[in-house]
């Protein structure tokens, strides 16, 4: 409390001498906004921040070590003794893209149960108590492209942490009571997704984009699929899919390299690789093009998504497309969508365009939320903004510059912590990008030209093929009717 008291005294002291003056001065600045005060004449700054000159800053990002174990498990590691902690992250090619139609939700359920169910040698309760007593966290979960297990542990407790890390990856127990618990909780999440307009439209738009492909399904599964899963299916999935040659491990923090190598060899060295029973993901079929869909929900704000299929993570045009999308709607406040729809129009708090770039073909989707009466006006404005941005000659040099400079200058934040560095490299390998991608990124970015942007805009963005999904109340229907657009009403209650 001491500094607080001091600060109060001081501010009283200094404000009394200036009180009258400063009060009047501020009033003048705000109400008339013209006069310059005397104090600011002493302000020895450049007139505009554009004129500031910055010192050079060397950029020598750390590079992690990589090695491959005999069984194919890939390891990235980066040591940093400055904080007495270790993080480990196993990324496993075990996403829901590998599910068959009768397995919807199995990848995610299995991944979640690695941790929740404990291992064959350490029941869940015992593992929970030991880990939490030392403030460590161990978590597992699944997504569309991969499943993952992550560990955070103080370096003094690393042996215990890696013990459990190995156990849940290699010998999860899948006890029946925990399977039931997880099924119940996931079913509840499905039910509660229907309370959230963002979740509803996210799921429904994916169905429009991907039809029956795993990318079009809810990775959590369905009420029916979850109810149908037996313990044997989880065991079988784990046995087939969780193999060392499908794992990229990244480890960072306070440890010796020899210790890590020895530990990983002890724990994972005798785990045999196998590709038997491992499915190829399905091909993505053409999605529904140029259609309009409506979901009725009695809310005073509509949620709108529109777009079409986009690109994979390893697409060679990803960098110019990223620059282009920065200008369109990926650059936040510096983007055209935010400037036109939000800042000028006052139509929306949320508006953005996204190329999501997953393992398989992703989406180019624009999202916005606006009050009922503005639903179609805001949607049409957003679509117009995109159409204009991809017209040849329409981008300004300033915009292109800003997008490139921004990406160039904030690149350093990819290397903020040792964990973010190992993760960045592990991710490159997972998505099949070249291992010199990060080294060459800055140069590739600098080399992006206006012609590149116009070319990728023409190739990957097609406003005439956008499908549109609107969630809103019954006052939205006449607004769509006014545009003489035929649309299909989707029901979300049936699942």
């Amino acid at each position: 409390m001491l500094p607080r008291v001091t600060s109060l005294k001081r501010s009283i002291l200094f404000s009394t001498s200036n009180a009258a003056l400063s009060g009047v001065f501020i009033l003048v600045v705000i109400l008339f906004s013209t006069t310059k005060g005397s104090w600011s004449e002493n302000w020895t700054r450049v007139d505009h921040p554009k004129d500031l000159e910055f010192p050079e800053q060397a950029f020598n990002p750390p590079k992690p070590e990589r090695y491959e174990m005999e069984n194919g498990m890939v390891v990235y590691y980066l040591q940093d003794p400055s904080i007495p902690m270790i993080r480990a992250y196993a990324r496993v090619r075990a996403g829901s893209i590998y599910e068959q139609p009768n397995e919807v939700g199995l990848a995610s359920l299995t991944a979640g149960l690695l941790r929740l169910g404990g291992s064959r040698s350490s029941p869940a309760e015992e593992m929970n108590e030991k880990l939490e007593y030392v403030g460590a966290t161990l978590e597992s979960g699944g997504s569309r492209d991969y499943s993952a297990v992550s560990l955070r542990v103080l370096s003094k407790d690393k042996e215990m942490g890696f013990d459990f890390f190995e156990q849940i990856l290699r010998e999860p127990a899948f006890p029946d009571d925990k399977i039931e618990q997880k099924k119940g909780e996931v079913t509840e999440r499905l039910r509660r997704q229907l309370d959230d307009p963002m979740e509803i439209t996210r799921n429904e738009f994916r169905k429009i984009m991907y039809n029956d492909h795993p990318y079009g399904r809810n990775p959590l599964g369905t009420r029916e699929s979850l109810a149908s899963f037996q313990r044997e299916q989880l065991i079988d999935w784990h046995k087939r899919i969780f193999r060392p040659n499908r794992i990229i491990l990244s480890v960072s923090g306070d440890f010796e390299a020899d210790w890590l190598k020895k530990t990983l060899k002890e724990k994972f060295g005798d785990w045999t690789n196998s590709d038997r029973g491992f499915p190829e993901p399905e091909e993505i079929q053409q999605s529904q093009i140029g259609k309009t869909f409506f979901i009725e929900k009695d809310l005073n704000q509509s949620t709108v998504r529109f777009g079409h299929l986009g690109i994979k993570k390893d697409n060679p045009d990803a960098i110019p497309l990223d620059v282009l999308n920065f200008v369109i709607g990926g650059g936040g406040f510096s983007s055209r969508l935010v400037n036109e729809v939000r800042t000028k129009g006052g139509y929306a708090y949320v508006v953005a365009s996204i190329f999501d770039e997953p393992l398989l073909q992703g989406q180019f989707v624009t999202i916005l939320q606006t009050q009922t009466k503005n639903t179609m006006e805001a949607t049409q404005l957003a679509q117009r903004v995109i159409s204009e941005a991809i017209e040849p000659g329409n981008l300004t040099d300033e915009e292109i510059d800003l997008a490139k400079e921004s990406k160039l200058n904030d690149f350093v934040f990819n290397f903020e912590t040792p964990h973010s560095v190992v993760q960045a490299y592990a991710e490159l390998e997972f998505y099949g990008l070249p291992d010199n991608y990060l080294e060459e990124y800055r140069e590739n970015l600098v080399n992006v030209t206006r012609e590149d942007l116009e070319r990728v805009g023409k190739k990957y963005i097609h406003p005439d093929r956008f499908s549109l999904l609107v969630l809103g109340n019954s006052d939205v229907n006449p607004l769509i009717d006014e545009l003489a657009v035929s649309y299909e009403t989707l029901s979300i209650e049936s699942e």
């Binding site: 501010s11 800042t343 400079e405 912590t417």
Partner: protein
């Protein structure tokens, strides 16, 4: 989900105001939100105009987390203008005499005309049924065309773009009940840019595009509160729990107040609270402290201090009996329960944080073990002890699984809280919580941003050293303390319960 995060990171870009519920009153995604050590080598530097700077050098990455926080939040509002602190936060991104404009002189007369018309229009609308709709329509058209005229001179979102161009990330701001914080991360060689822009927006702000931004803020409210069952329930909960204190309304403000904002109200607010003597600058990262002091002196030193803002005098009276409220909404059921507790500086606060850990952190806490693991009655349950400038609350929220009644959930929570009053807790449970908080502190050292945010938050609420003090006090908490504090605060006469009751679709 139970109030865990109001951030809109799903969109892949940062949105200006994670504001409102995301800080201060909410159940944060991590249950322990504290624990810096007083031994952190923070340098406290004070400028003559009363501005405080907290400087923490760390050289592991060539970056700096920069924040400037003001001791103003929804606490400083009154009925009629709720949400002003947050609206003002939005306006602070609209530029200055130099930023966001091609010709500020030319804008001034247009803005004056717009304000005059907008005020007339608001006055007319407030007449309700008697309002002259023709006049309203006419003024709306005039305002629209004046705004169009002003746009000739506006450079949209220039402040953010100047930052972004130089590699600024995590550009954002948030408003809580107790304070408002402007945040940003920059490459280490760009600190002068930060000084230029931040000092400029305190010294020469221009609240242009005010009326469009009002609509944006209203959309933000629709997203966070109106169309989000949990947001709606949270709002009802706060107004049930607090009757007198400004914690009773959310930072976003009531819809009718948002509709009636006037530019002059924001200017008054600004004048009162955005003074150097009411602010704290925090830098954490790769810089030289002596150079930092010189930069801060150069840019902020000549901004005049202002009279100390008026104190917040309203105190929540003692609650004299259990309170209940119901929200009928087309969504699945959920519940919040809350007991009035203490302010950040109270010696019982660290004990409440240990209780939070015992009840609600990790998989070995009591609520998780019983309600999720053993009896499988909820999909989520969380407890949270507010760390607020004025007396706050201990809050528990839960979402039942299908088929489990909300009464069962409430009864179970009451039983677990009752056990804290009736029995002493195991030493193991307390030690686990203490160890976890220590480990969380180590984890925080990874992030300049998190350290900066903690320092800014605590400086605004009670002085930054409170971070270390609470940390140390937590380590001293005993089983007897836990029982005593549970008996003192977590009793039925001090309890508020709100329940979301699903709308009966067949009946409507």
């Amino acid at each position: 989900m139970i109030r865990s995060s109001a951030q809109v990171s799903i969109l892949g870009f940062t949105i200006r105001s994670l504001c409102v519920i995301s800080t201060g009153l909410s159940i944060l995604p991590f249950s322990a939100h504290s624990e810096t050590d007083s031994s952190l080598p923070v340098v406290e530097y004070k400028l003559e105009n009363g501005l405080t700077a907290l400087l923490l050098e760390r050289h592991h990455s060539p970056t700096v987390a920069c924040q400037i926080a003001f001791k103003v939040g929804s606490n400083n509002e009154r009925p009629g203008v709720t949400g002003s602190a947050h609206m003002l936060e939005h306006m602070m991104f609209k530029g200055t005499h130099t930023i966001g404009t091609r010709d500020h002189e030319a804008e001034i007369p247009i803005m004056e005309k717009i304000d005059k018309l907008a005020n007339q229009l608001l006055d007319e609308r407030l007449k309700g049924e008697a309002a002259n709709q023709e006049k309203i329509a006419k003024w709306e058209t005039e305002i629209e065309s004046l705004q169009e005229e002003q746009r000739e001179f506006i450079v949209g979102e220039e402040l953010v773009s100047l930052y972004k161009k130089q590699g600024g990330t995590g550009l954002n701001a948030y408003t809580s009940n107790d304070y408002t914080n402007y945040i940003c991360k920059l490459p280490a060689n760009k600190l002068e840019l930060w000084c230029w822009l931040e000092s400029d927006r305190i010294a020469n702000p221009v609240f242009r595009e005010f009326y469009a931004e009002k609509e944006v803020v209203h959309e933000e409210r629709r997203m966070r509160i109106d169309t989000d069952p949990d947001g709606s329930l949270w709002e009802l909960f706060n107004s049930t729990l607090f009757n007198a204190h400004p914690y009773s309304w959310l930072t976003i403000g009531w819809p009718s107040d948002i509709e009636n904002y006037r530019r002059e109200t924001m200017e008054e607010f600004f004048k009162l609270y955005y003074a150097p003597n009411n602010a704290v600058i925090v830098w954490v990262g790769d810089f030289d402290t002596e150079e930092a002091k010189q930069l801060l002196e150069k840019y902020f030193g000549s901004i005049p201090s202002q009279p100390t803002p008026p104190p917040i005098v309203t105190r929540e009276p003692e609650q004299m009996g259990e309170r209940r409220a119901t929200l009928v909404y087309d969504a699945n059921p959920s519940i919040y329960m809350g007991w009035h507790t203490v302010a950040i500086s109270d010696p019982d606060l660290p004990v409440l944080e240990v209780i939070e850990g015992i009840l609600s952190s990790g998989r070995t806490c009591r609520l998780y073990k019983r309600m999720r693991d053993k009896e499988q009655m909820v999909s989520s349950v969380m407890g949270y002890s507010m760390r607020s400038e004025y007396p706050g609350a201990f809050i528990i929220g839960a979402e039942p699984l299908e088929g489990v009644s909300i009464e069962t959930i409430e009864e179970t929570i009451r039983e677990e809280v009752g056990k804290l009053r009736a029995e002493t807790v195991d030493e193991w449970e307390i030690q686990r919580v203490k160890n976890k908080l220590q480990s969380d502190f180590v984890q925080k050292l990874e992030s300049n941003y998190v350290l900066a945010r903690d320092l800014a938050e605590h400086e605004c609420k009670s002085g930054w050293r409170m971070l270390g003090k609470i940390d140390e006090a937590v380590q001293q908490v005993t089983a007897e303390d836990v029982q005593r504090v549970a008996k003192k605060y977590m009793v039925d006469t001090n309890l508020s319960v709100v329940v979301l009751e699903p709308k009966d679709k067949d009946a409507s």
